[in-house]
Symmetry: C2
Subunit: 399 residues, 2 copies
């Protein structure tokens, strides 16, 4: 707990003034959100959501605490959006530094090169909206010690001391960090969103993980699951992934929009929403948990969820009778909500998968989609083909 | 031409240094984009698009000039994304000032309240990427004189002097400004994208307008078309539209992603892409031009387009034989590319339309979609129903 306190620093409202020449105070703090329509009210357009009949009580957002893990291309924009929406509390986790090579995404500016991402982000965000309580957590959550700090931080990081955060948003760029978040959220029974952008920069996705109710990150073999090959060795010297501010902005937008829908109770929160930039295709689906998941807390949450009265679940009658495809590869059930799955990528996935070395299972391969106008609909694809397409198109190893 | 020169100011690279305390030079200019993978290279992740097989020649982006009309919630993020992508030239049009009430969208910061939007944006963008040539145009394009200045500016605003811009992006929030852009682009035969976000903040769209090839903004009656009621009188004192950084960020992302696809020749550029935040629905469709459009240049471009050999058009055989529904309201043809149109909103549109005062035609009504899980697919909706749904959900009067 000593180390936790050291690393989790609340950024004071006057930090931006005290520490730098380049930042001054943007505006004074506001005690209560007002709906008054004047140019000087930063909340008028948000409070208008109530008058428009979208949100019942917008100011509830001040009672919400969200952890953003990974403050890169997706995470920084995610934090920016939540800050401008007036979220109560924001916990920022990252251990990386800003580089000029990050300037092709939104948010960070060239003068911040060399600064810690969480510190630079907290400073800017505090300047934009001093009403948001921001804490920074500058460490790698995947080491044994830091994982415990992370677990403790989100377990006690709620608006009221000692309560957990309301939601965890994963904006990390690697498998290990996603698994760490998955493990922590399964154990704490916390809802979280996974997000990712492909290495070729033209697809991305978000996934809502409700322990026991939807598939966890460990339920389906994700990413590059190598037996002896470390993911890091795949990142060769002199080779870097592509990224675009557009794709990352859209994925951050999808992530925060669904976060707002969940926190403020409006609209339908998507379980899985993909984005393929090549043909502007946005697949939606639901993934049910794997009863034989390796994560024991996942299995425990599944049992708890099944024990709940059916009225509190969202599973329609027809679907709850049994798995649609009992013999599928992963023992999990997939419910595709979009029926125009583009088939252009499936051959690539298949051929790509057959070319890999033994012991290396690909589930996150990002196929290069041909520059063609083929966006054909195919209704008779199997579950396995769909899974391959979805994971090929939408899941990835990159934030 | 005198006044054009006065208003169209190139922001020099050293402007940020010369003019302010709060901005310093972010980085030096870079003569040639490099693909070298070093932390100090702001273009490495973009040039990686070539190695990933997405873009053939990324550096072509430096030879492109884009006009962004309206630098508000969508336009500022649009300009930010294009700047970070290293666009050759950016022309910014707006005559509004930054207000604290704009802080619920991305990009502007509280210290910029009171500054002209184009000046504030140019300063920030120049700081982020000094390689982009930015010009500011601080006037209202809808007045008679200013319309001519606008026409002249985009006619001669290309990378090479005297050539037109490569694309115009409309990020304005009113009907008059959209019609001004439409008139100018039809006359100059320039491709442009329309964009919009609904007054209730939970839907938006982009539309690619290729004069003569796709429906122009005047082909279908858009927005609130009142005979005696001015749009401004609908904006009552003490009432403001809702807006969200999420929706605006997603619409800007869709806009710039399709801009990149068009300028750099990859993927499929969407003719129309909508976004409904309530259920994460992204309808796509194509709108063919109205042969009896009121805009004479639109009709002229249609004749020119029809005279082209069929190989250069993208119209499939089956569709080009004749209109699918000859007796539809607007005499234009609609090709829906998504087949899972949500039907929840159609009643709202219908009942809403029957309640309006006489002489006021609603085509841009934004229905409040019920908080329900109904996302049913209905195949036998008529063209009129689809049009009503699409326009109700996706088109709007607000940027």
């Amino acid at each position: 707990m000593e180390s936790l306190k050291q690393s989790a620093e609340r950024v004071p409202a006057e930090a931006s003034q005290a520490s730098g020449k380049e930042f001054k105070i943007g505006r004074e703090r506001i005690d209560k959100m007002s709906a008054e329509v004047v140019d000087s009210n930063p909340y008028s357009r948000l409070m208008a959501l109530q008058r428009m009949g979208i949100v019942k009580e917008y100011e509830q957002i001040r009672q919400k605490s969200v952890a953003v893990v990974g403050v890169g291309g997706v995470g920084s924009v995610t934090a920016d959006m939540l800050t401008r929406c007036g979220i109560g509390k924001l916990m920022l986790f990252d251990y990386d530094k800003v580089e000029l090579a990050n300037m092709n995404r939104l948010f960070f500016t060239p003068d911040q090169a060399g600064l810690s991402k969480v510190e630079a982000a907290a400073k800017t965000l505090n300047f934009i909206n001093p009403d948001v309580a921001i804490t920074t957590h500058n460490y790698n959550i995947t080491t044994v010690d830091n994982f415990d700090r992370f677990l403790d931080a989100i377990r006690t990081g709620g608006i009221e001391d000692g309560t957990p955060v309301d939601l965890v948003l994963s904006c990390v760029d690697n498998f290990e960090a996603r698994m760490a978040i998955n493990t922590a959220c399964n154990e704490l029974n916390l809802y979280w969103f996974e997000s990712g952008v492909s290495e070729n920069a033209v697809s991305g996705h978000i996934q809502f993980i409700k322990p026991g109710e939807t598939a966890c990150f460990g339920c389906a073999p994700p990413l590059v699951v190598a037996e002896n090959i470390d993911e890091k060795t795949l990142k060769r010297e002199g080779v870097c992934a592509a990224s675009l501010p557009t794709t990352m902005g859209i994925v951050a937008g999808m992530l925060v929009q669904n976060t707002l829908k969940y926190l403020l109770h409006f609209g339908i929160v998507s379980d899985y929403l993909g984005y393929n930039a090549m043909n502007d295709f946005f697949p939606r689906m639901s993934l049910k948990p794997n009863p034989t998941c390796d994560d024991r807390f996942c299995v425990q949450r599944q049992q708890e969820f099944m024990a709940k009265p059916p009225s509190v679940t969202n599973v329609p009658e027809a679907e709850s009778e049994g798995p649609l495809h009992e013999d599928n590869l992963y023992g999990i059930e997939l419910v595709v909500e979009d029926d125009d799955i583009p088939t252009g990528g499936s051959d690539k996935v298949a051929s790509g998968a057959s070319n890999i070395v033994e012991g290396l299972k690909l589930a996150y391969d990002a196929p290069v989609i041909e520059n063609t106008s083929q966006v054909a609909t195919q209704d008779d694809v199997s579950l396995e083909e769909l899974m391959a397409q979805m994971s090929g198109i939408c899941k990835s190893s990159k934030e």
